[in-house]
Symmetry: D2
Subunit: 396 residues, 4 copies
């Protein structure tokens, strides 16, 4: 047995650290998923997820990763050859598009520079051009985990409406939900995809679809061949609190605990906390003289901050130094920005001092790895935290 | 908070009770699934599952229920319109067939009476008739969880070989693996489907495909549109101990612990234990004057025993009595045998005294529910256990 | 790693099996025992223990075994040379007397035969003879863990009152509290000693004194030299929810959970459950043709049953067989009855089927060890359980 | 349920944060403390503690707080009226002296200023003056938890030897053991007292005596009336791995895990880590312009740093701000220095980034509470950590 003293800092943009209470909830003995006690667990989880999505419509819970819920969203409403409009916010948008293509959809990409969220004007323009309404769905990533940029989802709905286009609005909020503001009903989203291991503070293994009545009705007659991901049977059987196949019981125990924690803190407080920590992180990045990958002001993510390495320095070598010397896991750059950025996760079960530790880890590793930078990043972050209450949002 | 004193007896045929050590393993803090520590976890899990499947070929682990692994098995090698031969051993064989149909396959069923395993002769006969080799796969349930019958898988291979038929042999051992003898390589299975919550003693949420080289090669060019379930990317990335999408990290911690427990006991001892407890259960059933659903001698399951209720008595009412009065969960009859049988799970993390408790629960509930029966079932089971060592198999 | 499948049956008369919820509560992160959150924990524990002792007077919680609380009870009110009257109910009464002697007290024993509780008439007679009131305290074991006999504590108070004797009434209810009826205030007890690992369903490591105002006042001027065990500082500092020295924080977390479980079941239901299981156990013992160590009717313990081995058979050899073959721990005979009795614990977090398992373990081990007995003990116990509801007391 | 996001920082000088692995070990089901499996646990714990104390002599483990082990040390070798020489290093030395007095000993105090460890010269001088060898024991606190000063224990032995005095050398290393260098045998200590909740990284509830053969022999004929604390029966029964009364089983599970962690890291690495973090903490304190309570160079504790508040500022008000706003618990000043110092714990399961978080918490709270200070303390600490490897000691 080897052992490193102290707690590992898991500061990737998900999985995020799981609160002890949630881990304990998960370690309760498994129960009969067809018995009366389970129905309470199931109903509570489904109802709880509605409160997190802010929807009174449908929520589906899969024993699967977020990738599975992506597939579920696509196959329930889209059929081979269907045209979907997607927006290249970064790596995960690209993966979702690849999946769409693999599933036989005609996936059109509005190219992006990976430095901001999706552009509603570009989408509106494209939709206006689609007089024949061939585009069946618009797919946007809410919080692009690879870049730390947020797409303005309410604006997407306005773009669709302005264009008078009937396409479904499908949103990936795998890493946004539970950390940054999301309002399924109010924003007119048709399908939202999410996962357990980010703002929901669970281990990976559960994923979600929120489904509008319109999308649900659509799925009755449309969609690809599917079985595991099929909404109909799920929604039907969920009414009683049960599932059509064996659910991931223990993760559901944890989900109910985690939803309780989110509401105990208050969703608005949760969102404000993430914004505040993101702002403090950006203050540190600026002081270091490094560059934030996200350049679109107001679209910086509350969940993570992706930082560009100075030319000629390997982000992965830097991350390895951070892990080896300071026992902190940072996120890697993915595909286009591989080895060029590292990502700091500041989501989930997190607080001011954990942020101070995280930024100290980055700063120490910058020194250790001899990455050119100005010192004082931690100091700058502390200064930003200084005048705000714990649990309150920064003044500006 | 309401509370019933003492431990609940979860004696359904899965999920089976999770050992405390496995629950504790699952409650360890989640780690970075892209970091170096994870690679060790991943490799250990994949290698460990090979030892359980008894294969040196490929194993795929999904963050999904067993139902997902069913779908994975089908979509990786079969395309819309492909002909598959399935055997009606019971409810789960029927569900798998329904799934095949839903996925666009031409699923042919050899009808069965739900009272025994699949018949290799019937399969051989059908295959011989298929001169054109239109049947792409033969799908058989190893341990039919709805009936407590076991299909002779080695015989299936012999049937295919005798018929000189090239169809793939696909086996569902969701509830068999880790409880009753299974030998992927030796028996010439092409695809085996399994799940975490039965003999593997985990909570639900992981499922598995074991894949022969032949099936794997086949999948490169064949199969349905798929993404989440696709073997290729999985197997490729698994080589390094990683996964193409976020794995269910904490369940993998538990899987490694559970595999360790199985090997610590010894797989042969595990199998013998299940046989011994099944035999003792049948002795009790016989003494009660009740009928075992499985009538094919030698095909009775080591995992569970399905018991027919006397005419005019509701199995579900009986199970409700057992749950309410004796805090024991028994399995329900499914579809054709709904309300007609109850199922006693004697699988997983189990021992002689837990069996005594289980059978006592059944006997007490028979009395309480006024189900006609002869007393002395527990006594008969104890007598059968008497002359055999703990951890040893019954003399026969 | 070696591994025996299934759950061990810990059927000694304490430590009793700890409910999973309590184990999880204990595994919460330790907190600052001087911080505001701790005060809530401390107050809840102290208040909770008052509800279990049924007292509105004082409760003291020690980070110590029950043996420590024995010492605490003695040294707070008795000084070197003080005369105490004790009653030989069994091994633990004898140990307590030895401790008293070791601490310099003049400990007088009313001899007993270890086959029943303390006799109030004998005590009254002795007290009447003590005209000078030299006896400072009467010490009685409520539930004698070595024999399975219960002393009638309310009768002890009546004996003191009838004799008009001012001695303090000190009671050891280490193994009785939380399992069988105990009423500190109503029964006029002055000091009661208890421990965590029996009816309170915790791991060992906490022990308790309930202290009447009279005993507390007495301790201000009387008692032996003491520091760790001193009530005064404890009670004083406890008012704020804190402790004079570091408390066993995590066990207190568990204590609060366990008290919650007891009240959720209802103390009267808890007591009735123990009586019912004790009655069923005695039915089994009788059927086996074995002898209960306790012969005084109405004084048989609800906590445990001590069973005499047939002449010429070693109880310890029998227990070793039970442990080796059936993974059940039974209690050994102690001192006078060493190797002559084995003890069946049926206390704490327990239910009907766990009792069936326990008695099945005894019966199987009797056979395996070739101990002469009549079969059918389990059957007899089931018959006794049959007509009573789970969670209800036996009709007689 | 209220909830604060993120992990609480428990930076008092004990209890220290308990590693998750230890918490999980503690949450294993309780076992029979008289059964064969327990003997392995007991032997491992006793042997393990010898390796931590660095002794081949005797170790005694109590289910008790450290305060209990203090009492045990005194009562086993000292009798009413015995003369003991103690040294006023701070609050805990004073409490130990009060206890000695309460137990009837004639406790003589060499006064100290609470700003350094015990002075061996003063002790030697006093011992030389004791021609009649009336002093039976010299009692010194190794790591004074109230002040953050370390007494040079090897020097104490040299002082006794130089004075040719036969007194026993008794050392309190409750908060030192497992964090800073301690060598029972090499340093010629006769009795050492320790506890579980500091360097041993356990919850409170276990405490220890290491006992030299000389002290053990002494205790056979000397000492006060005692029972619970008596070494003789303990050491005797411990030989088989068992205990004379019920041990705190689950804490022993945790102890074995914790000892394993300490050895996995390597005791020398553990000590170096504590020194390095203490040095970095002092660098921060110096930068803030605050004063370390310990002024004796070379005697600053690796376990904690006690910081003097500027005149006119309340340490307790400051600590309340730190707790409320930054969710960090700091230690309070005790008795003489109440409200004048706060204490930063940097012991146990700790690492560089946790230190950065801790010092950030202090710095943020200094600002928030408007305590006059120079900024840049965290920065200064990071600079000190910069040139040293994780897990290595500072260059000096």
């Amino acid at each position: 047995m080897s052992h490193r003293s102290g707690r590992h800092f898991l500061q990737i943009p998900g999985p995020s650290p799981v609160p002890d209470r949630v881990l304990r909830a998960i370690s309760a003995q498994t129960i009969d998923h067809r018995g009366p006690d389970f129905a309470e667990v199931g109903k509570k989880a489904l109802q709880g997820m509605k409160s997190i999505f802010k929807t009174s419509q449908n929520v589906v819970i899969y024993p699967a990763s977020g990738t599975g819920a992506w597939e579920a969203a696509l196959v329930n409403v889209l059929s081979e050859g269907d045209h979907v409009l997607m927006y290249e916010t970064g790596h995960f948008a690209t993966l979702w598009k690849k999946m769409a293509a693999k599933l036989g959809l005609k996936a059109e990409f509005i190219e992006g520079d990976w430095r901001g969220g999706a552009d509603p004007d570009a989408i509106e323009t494209r939709l206006r051009a689609d007089k024949a309404h061939e585009i069946k769905a618009v797919c946007v990533v809410h919080n692009e985990t690879s870049t730390g940029s947020v797409s303005p989802i309410a604006e997407m709905r306005r773009a669709l409406d302005a264009a008078g286009h009937p396409a479904l609005l499908m949103v990936d909020s795998i890493s946004g939900l539970g950390s940054i503001d999301f309002r399924f009903d109010e924003w007119g989203v048709d399908v939202c995809v999410s996962g357990s291991q980010k703002g929901l503070m669970l281990p990976p293994g559960l994923s979600f679809n929120a489904v509008s009545e319109r999308a649900y009705d659509y799925s009755k007659t449309a969609g690809s061949r599917r079985s595991y991901w099929d909404w109909q049977e799920m929604v039907e059987i969920n009414r009683g609190g049960y599932f059509p196949y064996t659910p991931a019981t223990n993760l559901l125990f944890g989900l109910n605990e985690a939803i309780g924690l989110l509401h105990a803190e208050g969703l608005d407080n949760v969102f404000a906390r993430h914004q505040r920590h993101a702002a403090a992180t950006r203050a540190a990045v600026q002081q270091w003289g490094l560059e934030n990958l996200c350049t679109r002001q107001g679209q910086e993510s509350g969940v993570l901050t992706a930082v560009l390495m100075p030319e000629g320095h390997s982000a992965d070598a830097f991350r390895a130094v951070a892990l080896q010397h300071y026992d902190i896991s940072l996120g890697s750059g993915l595909s286009k920005v591989a080895d060029k950025v590292f990502r700091i996760g500041h989501l989930g079960d997190f607080n001011d001092l954990a942020l101070a530790a995280t930024l100290s880890g980055v700063e120490l590793a910058l020194r250790k790895a001899k990455v050119p930078h100005q010192p004082g990043g931690v100091e700058a972050a502390l200064a930003m935290l200084e005048n705000t209450q714990f649990g309150q949002t920064a003044a500006a």
